[in-house]
């Protein structure tokens, strides 16, 4: 096949809504974009374990602690599904981790905010996982096969994450004044950053158009954000939380909630590394990665020795 025929074949697969598989020919820019998005997504799952891990030892009840542990374990699993999906494009996992450590690969800006009180765990499950779900449901139809299949698996696990978070918020909103204040404080701090998780507005997003054309992304940042807002504003109302946006209003014609301006300077500042926890998140990851080195060496040398013994025995 000539290069042109290959490109035509690729485009026709995309047009027919079929999946692109690892060994298929694909434009270099497609490979790069999918790989960047998958590794970024994988890193987000793994780094996202840290803000929640902060509360495992201080969870208010054994029930809460067990749930939080199971939720964090799921996030680790999500990271691993996504790393393995990314590996199908031929990049070694060591390289992905190196890129993370050197700041060449990004992860979601949301995990650079600190978890200050127990209600933050509720807010993360409800708002952060809630926003992630909206995005991930749409990505179940992404054009790269291994990515789409990882998303299907992840979406099955996510709804428990959001529900456990909302349950925490609802419980606190039923509690003492101090507990209600903590819940509202968490809401005030996590609402806007959660809305930023969908990325810049469509008019400022230079990645979106190309990604939509190749069906890597299936909905625009603003559309996904609106979906999340419409669901979440009502949920806040049900448990008595106030959405921290004085401009928030319901548009009777469109039937959508309209929000005030998002502070994109804050977003870019955190993305560029100046959030409260950027440094902590990466240095923590580097530390534990390096401290695990002797374990990786030990299990490999054990396996090599066992193989040698087995080979000797079978001769």
């Amino acid at each position: 096949m000539t290069e042109e025929e290959k490109l035509n074949h690729f485009n026709s697969l995309i047009e027919r809504d079929e999946k692109i598989e690892p060994k298929d020919w694909m434009p270099e820019a497609y490979r790069k974009t999918v790989l960047r998005q998958m590794t970024q997504h994988a890193h987000s799952e793994v780094i996202g374990m840290q803000p929640e891990g902060n509360w495992v030892l201080r969870a208010p009840t054994l029930r809460a602690k067990k749930i939080l542990l199971a939720k964090i374990q799921d996030e680790g699993g999500h990271g691993l599904y996504l790393y393995s999906a990314a590996e199908t494009l031929g990049m070694d996992r060591s390289e992905m981790i190196e890129q993370l450590h050197e700041g060449k690969a990004k992860y979601s800006h949301i995990f650079n905010y600190p978890t200050l009180n127990w209600a933050d765990i509720g807010a993360i499950g409800w708002l952060v996982d809630g926003a992630a779900i909206v995005n991930q449901v749409s990505l179940q139809r992404t054009s790269y096969g291994p990515y789409a299949r990882a998303m299907v698996r992840i979406c099955k696990e996510e709804s428990f994450h959001q529900r456990q978070g909302y349950e925490i918020m609802a419980t606190m909103m039923n509690g003492t004044t101090a507990q209600k204040d903590m819940a509202q404080d968490a809401m005030n701090r996590w609402w806007w950053p959660s809305l930023m998780m969908f990325g810049p507005s469509d008019k400022d997003s230079w990645h979106t158009q190309e990604s939509m054309h190749w069906k890597i992304k299936r909905a625009s940042n603003d559309d996904l954000r609106q979906k999340f807002i419409d669901k979440t504003v009502d949920q806040a109302y049900v448990i008595g939380l106030t959405v921290p946006d004085k401009d928030l209003k319901f548009n009777e014609t469109t039937k959508h909630w309209e929000i005030g301006d998002i502070n994109w300077d804050e977003f870019w500042n955190v993305v560029k590394g100046n959030g409260l926890c950027n440094h902590k998140r990466i240095s923590h990851h580097i530390q534990y990665h390096n401290e695990g080195k002797w374990v990786r060496q030990a299990v490999m040398s054990y396996s090599e020795k066992m193989n040698a013994i087995q080979t000797a025995a079978s001769i």
Partner: protein, 96 residues
């Protein structure tokens, strides 16, 4: 920066459930068979997704390639008489 290049070998994971064929679920890293099975269990079966697991070192899998696809599958493509719709059944014959 410390040398990072020490990831454990890659294994492919297949899981069977409820009388269906084994299905490829993804991959994991592990140093040997036992660790591969345990990691596959922890990563792919936390919610009863299956009770039988195969793990195979990724480099032990032989696979067809896209380049040779046309030539490789060619022998099957011209044998339309392998499909039941190829045959003309007499008018009025039923349940066949």
């Amino acid at each position: 920066m410390e040398n990072n290049n020490d990831q454990l070998p890659l294994w492919e994971v297949f899981i069977q459930k409820g009388g269906s064929p084994f299905k490829h679920e993804g991959s994991i890293h592990a140093s040997d068979k036992n660790m591969a099975l345990q990691n596959a269990r922890d990563i792919y079966t936390r919610r009863g997704e299956g009770r039988l697991i195969w793990v195979v070192p990724s480099d032990s899998i032989a696979a067809t390639t896209v380049e040779e696809e046309a030539e490789f599958f060619d022998p099957a493509d011209d044998k339309i008489y392998r499909h039941p719709t190829f045959y003309k059944m007499p008018e009025g014959a039923k349940n066949i």
